[in-house]
Subunit: 461 residues, 2 copies
């Protein structure tokens, strides 16, 4: 620990765990994007709010930038530390701090994994309903910092709706207690909502009070095969009208191809252009309604085949076909787009985007999936094995520029749920006006006057 | 129109309607608080977003403060113009601009009345579920500017949850398009949520895209008589566990006294200390569950009497006992507190507040009501007829100081749903720390650098 700044930190906080080994710098310096070379100054692993505040005060004094760090499962480079920053990992602050049965709330430290939150809620016969495939490794602080969405937004909304209170250390080292778990509070600007989706640039989330809800009803899972994208919107409308949908996810034949190559089981004898995995409230009425909806969709030609889960094990198998996609693509270092438009705009937008991608990526493997009921598309472009990473990214960025223009025309967003981070920074202007960007910069300056918190992420100052 | 500033405005915007008659200045210069003497410079009634922007640009050039104005049904003085401000009334911008059946959204101008939003949603067999007694005269812009709550928060949340998009003119005259109706959008700080509850100090809300939902189920209404406050929490827990509650409101015998003096009908032969009006999903299962819950509560001694609506007319009569309270108290120019704590904290807080009020207001008529399921209490102190207004307010403020201290100890809020405005400005520090207040000031400076928008409201710069 020869760096004099680190020596000062170690002296000021002798009990703070600091890592500087090369392997640790690499491990904590990157997220799931794998596009930047990790190069942090060091890793700090505080165990208390006071330590976090002390680290921020140290950072101010020594002009060291801080990258707040959770599970680093992010897909936008928001947790990348490639410029000598101090990574402030919340992983040792991962406890449940309290549960209140009357408020139906769970208070946790920010470093806790999403799955541990699920389990803690379940212990009290309640549910924390935000869910997605990275549940085992992502942290709740990271979920909040990106307003994570996932597979149940259609019914339960995004992370934002479930945050009743936040403790945050801002760029001045001040501890803010926002929201305080109150149902009603109209006493000045809601800084809690400002923190949600701020990607670590306004403050370091250290604790959260989460609202819980009733456990979901018993559900069944259905896999449907579809002929084309137009059918997707029809099937969604048809099922939404008849069933209590808990999830409605789609993916393409290319996605299924990669998942089955990774051990997923295709229950159909053949392949189809598009698939839907949907989960809905079961019981006799639910099953009957599902059957009626299925038959209606088949009759209309919107659905070509289908299978409904008869057991929890089978439901898990069907879900795996959707949830295994990201993992199955990881070896190809995919270039990801995570875009959204209003649901009503989806058909027109889709037609335009399909044409654009066919034109832009004639030789690449493009895998689509997403949350059609939320207006959210994930477009993954896979790198050809023999292509240099830099060339590949450059070619993808050219198409992203066109995609961003299409989004601008359709009033959409360049990031639905992954965040902007480093990956989409150049395209933020397609979603936000110059007048808005000026406000974002101004607000960042208020909460982090010295520019210490996750600099270079979201937008440049 | 001898004022040269107004002459300049009239010249710049010849089509803008401007009012300067004394009666208009008084009418548009005050809200339901009736505590301040209206003294605006003039009233502007724009009909377009462009006119609003032009008025803001004029205000910057001439250093005239602007008070954004909706239905002026507010109870915090947020729409009061007592210092030569220009009142910018949105009342001529009151149209429905669009409806989308796929997005299930309604786009409206900010000056539309809440009730007109209800009706527009109903026309499309959907519902906008935020509701309260001022529905006929309050505007949706004002609802958003205070994050209005009301009688159905327990089931549907506050106004905030239903705002999918906002158009706002900020203090620089810039038009911001926030949220854009997207379900998912993680592309920078959510300024839409910052605008909600900003009380006209960060921007002038000119349009809103509101999310709609399924119409509520058929409901029944039950009026219950209770012996004490402790029973209230028990009855709430008991009913919540058995029924799908759409509303759960309480009030005291003094509230019933005033409402029945104004024509409300007490269905009981005698009076009781406390009452609950609750609305719940009906149908056979609902009625049976309500009866079981009622019998359980009677058996436990938590409920002394009860009546359940047998018709819509009877349901409306029971609701009137709760909804007529504010109107019945208005002649007494009540001093209002609108406070909240976490639901779990309510019993301890209530005990403390009851002691405090008994001690602080030995000779005043104190009327309680509120939304116990949201942790929200309304405390109305009635002015004795022979007491000067100034003396009365001074005595009430002394007690509010103690109430604010109790709230601080219990982690509560000095304003649950009315907003801070002028009325609670002195007490904002009980709910927000100095560090937070510094941030609020900084953010206000970013969005309204010249301090034109509703100066003096919420907090002083």
């Amino acid at each position: 620990m020869t760096d004099p700044r680190l020596a000062a930190l170690a002296q000021a906080l002798p009990e703070l765990r600091l890592l500087t080994d090369a392997a640790d710098l690499e491990h904590y310096g990157r997220d799931w994007t794998r596009r930047w070379t990790p190069a942090p100054l060091a890793i700090a692993l505080p165990t208390s709010v006071e330590q976090v505040q002390a680290v921020v005060r140290w950072a101010r004094a020594h002009a060291v930038a801080i990258v707040p760090s959770g599970g680093r499962t992010g897909l936008s480079g928001g947790a990348v530390a490639a410029n000598g920053e101090l990574v402030l990992s919340l992983e040792r602050m991962n406890r449940v701090l309290g549960f209140d049965p009357i408020d139906r709330s769970l208070t946790v430290q920010a470093g806790i994994a999403l799955e541990a939150v699920h389990n803690a809620a379940r212990e009290h016969r309640l549910a924390y309903p935000v869910d997605f495939a990275a549940r085992g490794s992502c942290s709740i602080g990271g979920n909040i910092a990106t307003n994570a969405g996932g597979i149940r937004v259609i019914r339960y909304g995004n992370t934002r709706e479930w945050v009743a209170g936040l403790k945050v250390v801002d760029g001045r080292g001040e501890l803010l207690e926002l929201g305080r778990g109150l149902v009603k509070n109209s006493s000045g600007y809601d800084l809690r909502h400002l923190m949600v989706a701020s990607e670590g640039t306004l403050g370091i989330i250290v604790e959260a009070t989460l609202r819980l809800t009733d456990p979901p009803p018993p559900t069944s899972v259905m896999l449907l095969a579809l002929p084309d994208f137009a059918a997707l919107m029809q099937v969604f409308a048809s099922l939404r009208a008849r069933l209590q949908l808990e999830a409605f996810e789609f993916f393409t034949d290319r996605a299924l191809h990669h998942v089955t190559a990774h051990g997923g089981q295709n229950p159909f004898g053949e392949t189809y252009p598009y698939y839907v995995v949907t989960e809905f409230a079961a019981g006799e009425a639910g099953e009957a309604a599902a059957l009626a909806a299925f038959e209606h969709c088949v009759g209309e030609g919107w659905v070509l085949d289908g299978v409904i889960s008869q057991s929890q094990a089978q439901a898990a198998q069907l879900w795996r076909l959707r949830e295994g996609i990201t993992e199955s693509l990881a070896p190809y270092v995919p270039y990801k787009n995570d875009v959204s438009v209003r649901i009503s705009v989806m058909p027109a937008f889709l037609a335009e985007v399909q044409a654009l991608l066919t034109e832009g990526y004639p030789h690449f493997d493009v895998v689509w999936f997403g949350h059609i009921g939320d207006g959210n598309l994930h477009i993954n472009v896979l790198k050809p094995v023999d292509m240099a990473q830099a060339d590949f990214v450059a070619q993808c960025e050219r198409v992203t520029r066109l995609l961003a223009e299409a989004l601008q025309r359709h009033g959409g967003s360049i990031s639905a749920e992954h965040g902007i981070g480093l990956v989409k920074k150049a395209y933020l202007g397609s979603t936000r006006t110059e007048a808005e960007l000026a406000l974002l910069r101004g607000i960042r300056g208020v909460l982090d006057p010295d520019g210490l918190l996750n600099p270079g992420k979201l937008f440049d100052r």
